[in-house]
């Protein structure tokens, strides 16, 4: 029996860990989870669509009835009548008030949000084109908003409270549409442990 001699200890070799797979590589298109249908964002967009449609319909009704809008906070730069009766309140070349295209915008936006909610209710994935299209629609809306703000601030030097509320709703719709598109595209990868 050896004494003080070499001793050999047998250890169970640590299992080799395979290299993390693809954790540092950029995910490809197939590694992105498809977006959830519905969600709080869709509900918010639907609410904005309904409220915006209501305000636009109110202003349209007043235009054809020839009645001045109630103008909260009138005074100073706030002058609803001046804005709503200006040349910029009608679609160029027509007598159609710009509130009519506004109504159509909110109807489309609300419908796109409703489509997402409907897909969620049915338990199916919403179409992949839905969110990009909604984002594009809100971009169109924002461009129109910037035009109308230019008309109010630079040309008329007056603002309309009702118009501003509609502009804010379009802007918020854009932000939510951007967020929904970003959140929906969640990059993933396989990791083995």
């Amino acid at each position: 029996m050896p004494v003080g001699g070499d001793r050999t200890v047998t250890q169970t070799p640590a299992p080799s860990r395979p290299a993390p797979a693809a954790a540092d590589a950029p995910p490809d298109a197939d590694d992105v989870e498809e977006p959830e249908s519905g969600g709080a964002g869709a509900w918010f967009l639907l609410a904005l669509g309904v409220i915006g449609l209501g305000v636009s319909a109110y202003l349209t009704t007043l235009h054809y009835a020839g009645v001045a809008a109630i103008c909260p906070g009138a005074g100073g730069v706030v002058n609803c009548q001046a804005v709503l009766s200006s040349t910029y309140s009608s679609v160029p070349g027509t007598s159609v008030p710009v509130t009519v295209p506004g109504m159509l915008w909110f109807i489309v936006s609300g419908s796109l949000a409703a489509a997402s909610l409907l897909a969620a209710r049915r338990g199916v994935a919403e179409p992949t084109w839905l969110r990009p299209v909604h984002l594009g629609w809100t971009v169109v809306g924002l461009l129109a908003v910037l035009y109308f703000v230019f008309c109010e601030v630079v040309e008329l030097h007056e603002i309309c409270v009702w118009c501003t509320s509609v502009h804010v709703m379009v802007f918020l719709s854009l932000l939510v549409a951007v967020a929904r598109l970003q959140v929906g595209r969640v990059p993933t990868a396989d990791e083995t442990e």
């Binding site: 395979p18 001045a68 009138a74 005074g75 002058n79 001046a82 703000v149 396989d190 442990e193």
Partner: protein, 321 residues
């Protein structure tokens, strides 16, 4: 719950094995993957610039910056838009005080001021024209270039100031290339009026250069088509034109713009205390007729205005619609 990607669904369908062409997790040749190893999907942290907050913040910053640029451009002294009259400036306090503070004694002394009744009764008893507050409405149609409108506005401002308050009233002059050029006056474009007795709707169709300003609503155009024509007006769509609650029509002006030639706003305002001034007699006399008409359609309110000697006398001379 989020649905797995198309590739992942294919993998699961194929029994969990990696799809063709996709590298399998690395493993040592001599040690096959123990059963305790699992492959799972993990979310890859996205770069900060791809987060919704980053995008939302960037968009907000851009939009705010654009609006700030608009405000800066709008407030530049040399920046006047094609839609705004270059002569439009806020009415000086002294002028405003003069037109809104014509004393009752001057008004009573002048009375009609030699001005014929400009109020034409509307026949047929149409429904009353009311404004957003439910009060009788005075609808005014004019244009900044129009010298007759320029003369009429002095009386309108005086009359309406007896029932309410103007805000953002601007001063301007009529066209320099029309008859009675550069008649000093006010503009209702951009102005607002508040009153507990009367609603006022004004429409300035063009600035002093003829550039389009405001367009009538459908209802306003109907009023114009109905009443700014024979037998109430000698010219279809002529200006100035006023509809007082669908009870009286005023077409044209009773104040000769020739009498205001060469006078500044301050000079015209200064005459409004002189009962012997032909300018004051025309302007205040015309204003008294308008005041009488307003009193007739709003039930004589307020009594402090409608109960004065001159107004009571003129009101009794108004025909009924």
């Amino acid at each position: 719950m989020a649905r797995p990607s198309r590739r992942r669904r294919q993998e699961l369908t194929a029994g969990g094995t990696p799809a063709a062409g996709r590298p399998a997790p690395a493993r040592t040749p001599s040690s096959p993957t123990p059963s305790r190893y699992r492959t799972q999907r993990v979310k890859v942290p996205r770069p900060w610039w791809q987060s919704p907050w980053a995008w939302g913040s960037a968009i907000t910053v851009v939009v705010v910056a654009v609006i700030v640029v608009f405000i800066v451009v709008a407030n530049r002294p040399a920046a006047t838009s094609s839609a705004a009259s270059n002569a439009n400036q806020p009415v000086p306090a002294s002028v405003l005080a003069a037109v809104t503070g014509v004393s009752s004694s001057v008004s009573d002394t002048i009375g009609a001021g030699g001005v014929s009744n400009p109020l034409e009764p509307v026949s047929g008893s149409p429904s009353a024209l009311t404004g957003p507050t439910g009060h009788p409405e005075l609808f005014y149609l004019g244009a900044e270039y129009c010298p007759y409108c320029a003369a009429e506005r002095w009386s309108v401002v005086i009359a309406l100031s007896r029932f309410g308050t103007f805000s953002n009233l601007a001063e301007t002059t009529s066209s320099s290339s029309d008859e009675y050029p550069n008649t000093h006056t006010f503009s209702f474009y951009g102005a607002s009026y508040s009153s507990s007795y009367l609603d006022f709707a004004s429409l300035e169709t063009a600035d002093r250069s003829g550039n389009a300003l405001q367009t009538p609503t459908t209802a306003q155009q109907t009023l114009i088509n109905t009443y700014d024509t024979s037998p109430y007006s000698s010219q279809n769509g002529g200006i100035p034109f006023m509809d007082l609650a669908n009870s009286f029509i005023v077409s044209g002006t009773a104040v000769p713009p020739a009498s205001l030639q060469g006078m500044t706003w301050e000079q015209i305002a200064a005459t409004l205390t002189d009962t012997q001034s032909p300018v004051a007699q025309a302007i205040i006399g015309n204003a008294n007729w308008l005041t009488a008409g307003i009193c007739k359609v709003n039930g004589g309110q307020p009594a402090s205005v409608c109960g004065s000697t001159a107004i009571t006398s003129l009101e009794s001379q108004l025909g009924s619609s």
